[in-house]
Symmetry: C2
């Protein structure tokens, strides 16, 4: 099936996606949005989408946020390297084998001002802090500033026929990176300060991400010793996750390229930078890798709206495609796992 | 891949299609139509969709049409059995083999009144006439009555963002049957008189139709001898067409069932009857088989609107699925004389 799968990668680009992510100067009408983007599972970036949000001006000054949220407890994600929910070596010293796991951040509830200070003073290799929690945190932990943004993206709500299921806030620096994964939501991703850099691959390219089952491990952070421990969850639990790091370090590049040729030798991922004031429509089931550049205030700030997706024929086709064995899948079967449903007990979604 | 393909058939029904075609009491809003039906590639029948068309009353009296169109030349399709554009035996007398072809009707341009009379006096086994031409005939040949219907289906035009590419008129009797096939158009099919009976299978079920290449043959009719000749087009030309007749004659049923087990033993096709005053939304790429019952005036009359489809990710997925070999393809290779090492599948049917 190799030829047929490569043909699919090519055809979806030729027919629908093109070579660059569409850019719209103003928000689409609800019908245009659903017809030309959602229905086609095609991303777009919309400029001047949130010009009317007070947040766009207010939040570029961190002292405004600090004053508004001073007494509020917020969720802070801590990792040694800025990679949470990512495939990570376990650092076992058992010879040449490198045991990989799916590492979750250490999560703490802190006063916002302390948490923001931790983000600012992040230091790679020691302690990188990222203010985020994908559980509707914007409307719960950040309720004191949530009126600075719209409660939904009006044209998306009308198009999709429902209100957002969750709204999440993200405050970080360029030290935090989100590894390739997909979500089972339609995602409207608004950048309020700084820039977000997305690498995107359509669901048709699933084999190129080498999705495998990894054992779940959790970081725990000791404030006194300032050290992280990474320990496998007990009893062992596995989640399917993308194996590919699109930006390997120079010393790892050759080995990564030889391990993941479908990714590195196939069609280039779509790249797009979403600036403050812009919204990315990221269709459900698209694989995305996210990095960021902070804005004038010293942070990257984004708010994303998750809308329920439709589990329809596209989803059924995706499951069928994923079931077709091709290189990465044979790797999966070695690991004994078949990717079925996302595990309920984890918020991780490949 | 047998299991995976059967899973796809099942999943698209469980997730999206259900077991019956949706029925709407009134036309959907454009957004509802595109979100819940077009985007999901999901058919629906809409009642009270054309109540305001003068045609609904006027055309039930054939003398109205005869008077309005008396001087107009229209395209009449003639076959001996009511099956045009269908897989048909060539009736060669060369032993036991039955050579099959794709047989096109004899098409004549006649005055409407003569043509209508030919439809009325159709006789199976001798001469079955069907007034139809899928080339926008309603707006050309029938321009003298086309104001009796709307020029488009307004909510579909708004949803799909374009006007109909073609509008076709169909006047026939229960002797005319359209064999399983698919069209590369979004189809809004309005019944004005009588009833149309659709058997429907989604594009995901493509392997169940045993699509094969058949040589094109054309009927020609001699008015004097009242005889048809069926001759292969020269030079030979081949078209891919569905092999399955869902209603085989009793003497053929056992052999058809054994030739096409994926069709006869798989999930039941969707069945729906569209009555005068109703519209069927038939999504692009859905396989459909159409039969009919005439109304009070003695004819079944329908007008269908073809809108351009989007060749997007669903289309790419379909092409990929179709490229996956499964039984029907092995049949194709047998017919083309190649040895096929894969024996008949004994996989359990869904």
């Amino acid at each position: 099936m190799e030829k047929e799968i490569h043909d699919l990668w090519r055809e979806v680009r030729e027919l629908s996606l093109g070579t660059e992510i569409d850019r719209l100067d103003t928000p689409p009408s609800p019908i245009q949005f659903i017809r030309d983007y959602v229905s086609q599972s095609k991303p777009c970036v919309i400029s001047k989408a949130i010009s009317h949000w007070p947040a766009l001006k207010l939040w570029s000054d961190p002292s405004y946020l600090a004053a508004s949220l001073s007494d509020d407890l917020v969720s802070l994600h801590l990792t040694p390297n800025g990679s949470a929910d990512a495939v990570t070596p376990m650092n076992h010293h058992d010879g040449n084998t490198e045991n990989l796991c799916f590492a979750s951040a250490h999560v703490e509830k802190l006063l916002f001002t302390e948490a923001l200070h931790a983000v600012k003073s992040s230091c790679k290799g020691r302690n990188v802090a990222y203010l985020q929690q994908q559980n509707d945190c914007f409307r719960t932990e950040y309720s004191n500033v949530c009126l600075d943004c719209d409660g939904d993206i009006a044209w998306a709500t009308e198009a999709l026929g429902c209100s957002p299921e969750a709204v999440n806030l993200w405050i970080g620096t360029d030290l935090s990176v989100t590894s390739f994964h997909k979500d089972h939501y339609e995602n409207l991703y608004a950048v309020v300060s700084g820039e977000k850099h997305f690498l995107l691959l359509p669901p048709t390219d699933v084999h190129r991400l080498y999705v495998q089952e990894y054992p779940v491990a959790n970081y725990s952070y000791n404030r006194d010793s300032e050290e992280f421990k990474l320990e496998l969850e007990q009893p062992m639990k596995y989640v399917p996750w993308c194996s590919v790091d699109p930006y390997p370090s120079p010393e790892k590049e050759a080995s990564e390229r030889s391990k993941f040729p479908l990714f590195f030798d196939g069609p280039k991922p779509f790249h797009c930078t979403v600036k403050a004031g812009e919204i990315l429509y990221l269709p459900s089931m698209w694989f995305h890798h996210v990095s960021q550049t902070q804005g004038d205030g010293g942070y990257t700030i984004a708010v994303n709206y998750w809308y329920d997706m439709q589990f329809d024929v596209k989803y059924a086709y995706f499951n069928f495609l994923q079931s077709v064995p091709y290189e990465s899948s044979s790797l999966i079967s070695k690991l004994s796992g078949r990717e079925d449903e996302d595990s309920e007990s984890s918020d991780a979604e490949v």
